[in-house]
Symmetry: C5
Subunit: 354 residues, 5 copies
């Protein structure tokens, strides 16, 4: 549950733009790395002091400042005042329960994404807020914890792979968004495997454990969907290139991410429908089993209760019971019982209960 509602109420009544970190503190220290590049050169350094970032604002090359760990409010404040970030944006970066959104502040775009990862042991999706600030010649990215998800981008930058070094800051921002969205496919694949496994279980031997697993998966889907749905609109509004910060030639790449997002949503919806089907299957298989059990009970009871009654009759202690004195009475009764039982079995077979 704490996954769904963060303790935002602590801030009720505080003036807007009050900087206060909301959410779990996930990183020990704040780690800031700078990559500054153009087609020709690339400079990379880890920064001890936030002031080291400031000179990069003036250079014409593309600067990527990556901040891991956002609990140190004063670092953010300094960075914000240097790069001219609005207090409300800084507040949004700190409030780690944002839904994906994009805001056009004129001089820069602010993009909120959710990085998702699957906690394998608890089968729970964990979500981390990734904030991007895209300016004319810089991208600042904020992650809640240190992660290696952006490493492929770093590799591509260092290795001059693809066109990333020849394009501007907007392409860098696109690449960061792309790598986050690509990550969703990995999670979906794992979910797909789980669903496949559960489907096998359902056909083989559905237990209440299967049911709990389906319900749990369904809940994770609600969670997943909550974070992916708004993303579609975010990327689509970036793609419509309302801001001059995003160049024409980057648009086609954004359209590509947009397609991926729709594919992710499609798959989530398909999974949801499949899981509804699986729940139905489970419930009917349970009720089928119940019916089978009831039938057995009914057959046993309807055969033996009347027979027991007959036995009971001849167990009565009346002094004058003529049948009991007949020599073959016992066997006659046994035969009669047998015949009655057989008749009932035939009847059941005709009624298709057997």
């Amino acid at each position: 549950m704490p996954r769904h509602v963060k303790k935002r109420s602590r801030k009720t009544g505080a003036p807007p733009g009050t900087l206060m970190h909301i959410g779990e503190r996930k990183a020990e220290t704040t780690k800031i790395t700078i990559i500054d590049y153009d087609e020709g050169a690339l400079q990379e350094k880890q920064v001890q002091n936030i002031e080291e970032c400031f000179p990069f604002k003036a250079v014409p090359t593309v600067t990527w400042i990556n901040v891991d760990g956002i609990h140190e409010v004063e670092i953010l404040e300094k960075l914000g005042s240097c790069y001219g970030l609005h207090p409300l944006i800084l507040e949004d970066i700190l409030n780690t329960d944002q839904r994906p959104k994009v805001e056009d502040l004129g001089d820069y775009l602010y993009v909120v994404l959710r990085m998702l990862s699957l906690n394998e042991t608890r089968s729970e999706i964990q979500s981390e807020q990734v904030s991007l600030v895209l300016g004319r010649n810089f991208v600042i990215s904020f992650q809640e914890r240190e992660g290696d998800v952006f490493d492929p981008i770093r590799e591509r930058l260092r290795g001059k792979k693809g066109r990333i070094r020849t394009m501007g800051a907007d392409y860098l921002a696109y690449a960061l968004v792309d790598v986050v969205v690509d990550n969703y496919f990995a999670i979906l694949e794992k979910f797909g495997d789980k669903i496949e496994a559960l489907e096998g279980d359902l056909i083989a031997s559905p237990t209440s454990k299967t049911l709990h697993a389906i319900h749990a998966l369904k809940r994770e889907m609600i969670f997943l969907r909550k974070f992916v749905w708004p993303l579609r609109e975010v990327i689509s509004s970036m793609e419509r290139a309302e801001s001059s910060l995003i160049k024409k030639e980057t648009t086609i790449y954004l359209r590509d991410v947009h397609d991926h997002t729709i594919q992710v949503i499609d798959t989530i919806e398909t999974f949801r429908e499949m899981m509804s089907g699986m729940l139905d299957t489970y419930l009917t298989s349970i009720s089928n089993k119940m019916n089978e059990v009831m039938k057995v009970l009914t057959i046993i009871a309807t055969i033996f209760i009347p027979l027991s009654f007959i036995a009971g009759v001849y167990g009565m202690n009346f002094e004058f019971m003529p049948e009991t004195r007949w020599h073959w009475g016992y066997f006659a009764v046994l035969f009669f019982m047998f015949a009655t039982g057989l008749l009932m079995l035939i009847l059941f077979r005709k009624k298709k209960w057997l």
Copy 2:
């Protein structure tokens, strides 16, 4: 139920603009406070006589008139005629079952909000109507009862915290809306805690009390949703700044409240989906228990009914029953019964009923 339908019918046929208080009377007396401020100075006073408010209309400073308790119709009438409020607006202020809305009357904006609070003992959401009138240089707020929800704003005004003293009446109106919406997060957090507790109960030992709690929570959600959904549209139409009363620089703040509203709605929807899942879980766990009970009954009955029949047979009083005279007949029958029972147990195990 009285929460859902107010006795509005008392007014059927009355001409529009007829001032009559509809709803519960929640405050003893009407309490009016005025805060008049600009960047330099702030004047605050509690008003005995409504006429004291009138001079503030002419001053260029921002005036905030807060009215607690709206049952005294004549006070409203005087205030309305001084500040030029349309009779229909006054009527809306008095009819406390409005849904959130915004109306642009040209000279002023009229905003209806719902202040929500959680009655902890009865676990019921209570809703109070808050009306705001935003003019060129004044804000009039109407609350049904005295409350401390606007106190943080007063503090910020007095303490010059944030930018509130440097901005106009529109920013004040925004701040009031913001504090109402922030309040929703507190309620959602409490609901989140309740849901978490109920989920624990569901896994540990679901009783019919758990079920009632889920149903009750679900009903509160319907209630909550009814008041929050229209708010989104309200704030979004304020944000689109169709009125010249809302300045460009306040728009970004409204967009922030708008995001918060969407987050509240998102959370409500997630809660609703989770509670549907919980109801499903409850129902299947109940039906699973039922199945378990039925199985035990079936197993006991199908084992012992045939055995009882055998005992019954040898309890018959026929004179000629050869087996009864055999020396080991009794033990043979006991053994046969035991074997039959065992066989059935093995059969059940094979059918996975045990």
Copy 3:
């Protein structure tokens, strides 16, 4: 059912504009009243002959012609040809199964409303068609039966209450629509009371009568909703003032009715959701009861069936049954039975069946 489909098929193939009254005949005679007024004077008379209405067409004062009972087709025809009503409009007035709509014919607006009333004995909503024709300086209203719903308007006209005498025909039309919509609140309040009563029943002792009441209420809601939903669009399109017949200053009043309509719809939707919740509660409470019954059966049966079997064993008539000869055999068996029963009870308690 006749409430849902009227015998419209009688007219299949007839040319459009064929005047034929479709629906039940609800009034004995047609009663026509005229109120002609401006700010200064008011003239009111009951009309025997339809031709008496014609002179009012030319006068500049506002004329309100109210027709109660619409089965006399020739009266309608004459009125129509005098006031220039299109044959299709006359046809719509006569076909009393119209859904609410507004049609702009250039010279006049045609508005269809549904007046609803609650038949208390059968708990059924009854619906009557009210047609309004709004011209430059006249309003013609058609009701299926004589009713007192418009009386408050007449009072306001006579008593010069509110602004109705100072405003034009469009304000009169608004007042008529308003009084019809206000009427819905009365019905909703009665439904609210019923729902509250049913909720009490549900918690105290749900019977199948409760269930039928919920289902019946639900059906009335379908009915109610069918008539109120289109009204929203009707009033909203009147409010958008596409026609020059509706003056700017009346628009704000229409917006007020529009708000009321949305409130009615909101309440209907809330009621529907609440009744779905009540049905769920009923069903689970029934299934809980069933479970309880089943548990009792199972406990009794699983305790006594094995015990009966033991008694049956010692009731067998074998000649050699050593235990039967033991002196304390009987009491030993009794004790064994008692112990077995107790053990089972303990087991059940542990399994939480008791």
Copy 4:
């Protein structure tokens, strides 16, 4: 099922515009009738040879060519080449599984309608495709089989009833659409009667036959809805008069049909909701009956199983059973049994099981 998918696959890969009749052949021969009229004169003739239709193309009067039976492809081809119909339009006329649509080809409008009729014996809706081609001064209508549904129009033409003779081809097309839509009301009335009858059955004595009837009706509703929904859009797009073929004065008549269509859709939706309610009622009444049955079983079993056990105990053959020797032992036991039974009955009554 053949109602839902026609053997369209026979044509896969054929070039577009390939004329091939898809659907059942419903008429023996093709029957072509021509009515040519203006305000003054009317000429009507049945045509043996399709070439007889060609001269009418040039005349300024309105020509209505009605074709019953569309399986003779070559007739269609000739007619098409004379009146300039696009091959794709001819193909659509022949493929009788079209959904309602309108296509504006510039020189003419092509309208597809579904004529519905109720097969009373099988309670199944049967659907026939009616195609209309509306040109400047002609209307060509295609029906799958000879029908009398257009007879009232012929009567009105011959008898100069209404304004049909004074208006153009567009009014004729409207009249044909109108008569088809009016027909839907007849079907809805029949369905309404069926639903009413079923509701009566549901309250009196629901059997599984009732259930099947509801399910069957629901399926017919799916079918009905499928054909009526798109009609709304069709007529609304004709009404918007995008084509110059439809004159201003006909628009108001189309709006009238549009209203009728919405009324039909409304009624279908209401029926669907009512039938969902009826299914719910059926299911709960069944489960209520089941509960009643279970209760009886439980009461009988829980009373007699313990009593039988007591009887069993005293039926044991132990040599030393002191009670059996008491003189009043038998009656004491009988009384004890009676008391136990009575106690249980009282308990059940208190638990409200009786």
Copy 5:
């Protein structure tokens, strides 16, 4: 499941435009055929070397290059660089889990379709990606495996059937899309047959196999729908002719395919609704059977349990039981038992349980 999520994650972090085949390798070798034609001449050849395609780019005739098997990345790269395809487009061609879409790249349109086929043995829909690139005077089509679905088009080209030889590349693209969509009807027909068969089974004798078949069919429907829904938008955006590549006269043909797509979607939705109804029917028929079983059990038990009790009473071994000594006691008891049984049967009949 592998049908739903392809191993796209292998590419996470790779730069966009990285060419890597994602999906199963379905064809042994890549087979490339070229058909180059205008109204007068047609040249057809199978190509060994991809370079043979390049000269056709310059010729004014329409060139259709069909590529079967897309796993050889280098062939695609060469073709792409010759015809100026964007790397992202090449990537999309290789990633065979695309949903249908159309992209306008200015010089060419890129269309993704899904070719569907029904694996008869496993009753599973198999989907293959078909990519079309439509340039000024060429169409390049990519299929995952060799297929004969485009053969009818080849026949029409060779045989000059229809207008295909006289129209441009856009008409060829239309024809390819059309043949893919026509194919869906074949699948729907097969599904229709299956549903019909299942409906028969449902009425005759529903087994759990029927249920599994319905569930399986429902899942295939989810799958089918996923691929057809987006197609509607694809064709509709092609039809709107935003690109100059699609000529006016081809638009009407695209509108035709658009109609077909809507018809396919309609049928899928109808099937889905029918299958929901079938599931409901199954469940109620199962629960009806259960009820019948329970009734039999109850009747047997409630008749014989009391009778057995009576027998048990007279089986008690009390020394003083006066009735046992009466001469007709035995027969009196037998008669009493018979009467009790009969009475109960009459009671059951009155309660309509029999």
